[in-house]
Amino acid sequence: MSTITKTETPPVSRPPAREFPAPRYRRILGADRSSIIFYAVIVILAVLVLAPVVPTLYQSIRDKPLYDAGGIFTLDNYVRLFTEANFGQVALNTLIFALLTTVLAIVIAVPMAIVVVRTTIPGRRIFGAAMQWPFFISSLILGFGWITMYGPAGFVSVEVRRILGFLPWDLYTLAGMAITEAVALAPIAYVFCANALRNSDASLEGAAQTVGAGPFRILFSVIIPMMRPPVVYSSLLVFSLSLETLSIPLLYGQPVGINVFATFLYNNGLQSIDPDYGILGAASTIILVCTIALVAVQAKLLKDAKRFVSVRGKATRPRLLDLGWLKWVSVVLISFYVIFGALIPILGLVARSFTKIFTPLQNPLLSLTTNNYATILQYPVYIQSIKNSLIVASVGAVLVSVLATVAVVIARRSPFRYRKVIEYLALAPNALPGLIIGIGLFWAFSFIPLGGGALIQGTLWAIIIGFGIRALPSAYGSISPAAMQIGDELDQAARVAGADWLRVFLRMLAKLLTPAFGAAIVLTFVVMMKEYSPAIFLGSADTNVIGTTMLELWVQGNTGSVAALATFQIAITAIFVGIAGLLMRGKKDA
């Protein structure tokens, strides 16, 4: 320690002893400025979460629309829901659809996760990356793609019918919906199971090997039994997502009259000329009870699952198992899922956007056209919807990420008494289906006194608020782990050195969280770019986004232009993610 001996030199001449008293921070009515921020954030979050929920519950027990004076309390809405509106059949459809979807998604995802993460199949990286595709493509676009290829008049269907003389499948059934939805949701279950596999202790498998277990024995005696918690959790996740989904049931069920929860709300709230708000409120309330219960169970499971995380000293790289000839079977099956589930429908949709008619009966190259794009670009309403989507996604991404960052830091790194409540509020929108957010906010805006609601109703701000509520949990979830990685002694040191909580946040945590904040912006942008369901009720003719415009064009039968808009949306997302990736990488190098 040569440097230590240096201090033995005579003490440096110091300026005359001077005291540096600790700073005093101003308090307003006994509350310091940090507390004021805590309460402000909790109020903002509570308003955002409760605004769509409370009017919905209230409407469900009123006999008249909320904006009509003189309504009385009644349970009649619930009675009529099951007698007149045939909600029982809808609930049954939803249950069958959600169960089928869950089973199929798990059957696709779990073996794939095990094979890709833990065995020596060729192309592991490519398959792993391919499972990211739903990040770029919304389930609405996937539905368009599937109908374009596999629908009654789809490209593949026509060819199959020509060869076999009949079509062995029918997309417009509950089973057809469930298969498509499962293809769309399988990657979510996959990511969850793959992460669990990566984090599990590889030495457990090593221990199995040392006692003489072969690859299959290890697979069935060690790996699969340990997969139970992630499988249970991701099943619940897929189940609750398919309970509230709108896109595919809307596209497939509408022509043949099969209704599930979301399409029931869509039809009763939008399609009928004089919507029955009582029934709409009652149905929304029942759906909310289901989704909230499911999300609560998920949260409980996730908390319990953390207790099973095995503590390891070193990160050991697991040895990959060799499945022999079975690995080629696996490769074929996974390729089948990726190619037929996602790649062909999306490429088909892109091809559709460049052709007049898209059918195997005529060489598509002969009917190449740019008319579909011209249609979009000729009409200002269509261009406006692209602009609107861009505005909503970019403004929303910044606002939501800022709110999420502040919420994370308060929930994780503050002495605030109600910090747990902040976390619950930020994650609560997971339990709020997009359509119900739309309906609820629509009612909430009509509640704002002095015509304040009219200022928001039908503007892009209404859309930003609706989409923002939906995107908040993703943003929160992406920042939270980063905040937990910053040791709390860093802020404690700053506190003792004289910084109050606000200064710690601005000077320390905000700077250290910048990369996570950037990532949250990218994620939120993409989520809000794909979102459309709250806009169905909140939008006006001037505030259509790409999603709602696509639906309109689809109903009009203008499938070529739908394909063109979908291609736009995919391209915008890909370009944005690409640029953001480059920017962030550049920052890291600097």
């Binding site: 110091r14 300026p15 600790a22 404690q492």
Partner: protein, 376 residues
């Protein structure tokens, strides 16, 4: 100058009490150490002094300033207490250079820029790191980071310095040197210091006074010498240094001497006691291994010494001395000796002044008891 006065400090965490009504006073300029195993409440106490946590009840005052008190519900947040603190992880802000790290507390106190520069240079000089002023924390070694953390805690001349196991992340050799250096620096500055550690050697070497803590209680507050030579309880004797413990029962007591029957083999011994002992009381007899004599035959036994018949189980050379594991009844006793030649049946001589008597206490952990039981 500041005395730290802590009264009836108590902290509950969700139903369990981690700190029981602790009271102590730290004198101006004193190096005061909170010593104990993990979970004993020492870090909780330090956090309460710093203001990082609120006590359930009790009060803390420095000088005449009340930091926290349950009487009038007063609580001064950490940023307004003007303390310096060094954390176990050093907690240097990774996005700032050393100069910026040290400048932060000065900026908050609105110290003019020019004065800041002298203060920062002085503080870094004190820890011998002035030449690294433009570096970032991750470019320094662990020992250097620890000294920067100290400089940052001292640069604004706080009233009290709080140190939370600052040496525990250094390797063993460096830790011993840093110990001496830190003690000298503290003495030079004369700053009142509260030091938290689980390392008894560190505590003994550096402190003016030590508070030994266990299970949220303060067992003894005294100088290092007093703590080692006259442990107040059997737990302190077990935690500071090493001790042999034997269970016994008081047969009779008079004039500061107790006659005790050892339970293991029924020997009767005489032990001098400071307080009073009652006949029939269950007691624990403690003696340190370094105060014992081991020989094949007990010759030249000093007056009043106790002689126990033992068998040598193992002899280990631990550098500069030998350590014996001795079988006494079904128990294993440890003795240190400069000679490593004793084997087989032997006599263990315990001088009268080496023995201390405590109320019966279970100080040996289950694990240790199982390892020490003679099963063969």
């Amino acid at each position: 100058m500041p005395d730290v006065v802590v009264k009836n400090l108590r902290k509950d965490f969700g139903g369990t009490t981690v700190l029981h009504e602790v009271t102590f006073t730290i004198k101006d300029g004193e190096f005061f150490t909170l010593l104990g195993p993990s979970g004993c409440g020492k870090s909780t106490t330090l956090g309460l002094i710093a203001g990082l946590d609120k006590p359930t009840s009790g009060s803390i005052a420095v000088d005449d300033v009340v930091f926290v008190s349950d009487r009038n519900n007063k609580f001064i947040p950490p940023e307004e207490r003007n303390l310096g603190m060094v954390f176990q992880s050093y907690a240097l802000w990774p996005h700032m250079t050393l100069a910026q790290n040290l400048a932060m507390p000065l900026n908050i106190r609105k110290v003019p820029k020019a004065e800041q520069q002298t203060l920062i240079r002085d503080a870094l000089d004190k820890v011998g790191l002035a030449h690294l002023i433009k570096r970032y924390p991750h470019q320094l070694s662990g020992g250097q980071q620890q000294r920067v953390a100290l400089a940052r805690a001292l640069v604004y001349k706080p009233k009290v310095l709080l140190l939370d196991e600052p040496l525990s992340n250094l390797d063993a050799k460096l830790r011993e040197q840093a110990r001496v250096w830190l003690k000298r620096l503290q003495a030079d500055l004369g700053i009142t210091t509260v030091y938290v550690t689980h390392d008894q050697e560190e505590a003994l070497a550096m402190s003016d006074r030590i508070a030994v803590m266990s299970g949220g209680h303060m067992l003894q507050v005294a100088t290092p010498h007093e703590i080692y030579e006259r442990p107040a309880t059997a737990e302190v004797a077990a935690f500071i240094g090493r001790s042999n413990f034997l269970d016994g029962t008081v047969v009779s007591a008079s004039n500061g001497t107790a006659t005790v029957r050892l339970e293991e083999r029924g020997e009767v011994i005489n032990v001098s006691v400071s307080g009073d002992a009652q006949a029939g009381e269950a007691v624990t007899v403690a003696f340190r291994p370094e105060n014992l004599h081991l020989s094949a035959t007990a010759t030249n036994v000093p007056n009043g010494a106790i002689v126990l018949p033992v068998d040598v189980l193992t002899t280990s050379y631990v550098g500069s001395r030998y350590e014996y594991d001795l079988k006494y009844g079904d128990r294993v006793l440890i003795a240190e000796s400069s000679a490593g030649t004793v084997s087989g049946a032997a006599k263990l001589v315990i001088p009268a002044d080496a023995v201390r008597l405590y109320p019966r206490a279970d100080v040996v952990s289950q694990d240790a008891a199982e390892l020490m039981a003679v099963t063969h």
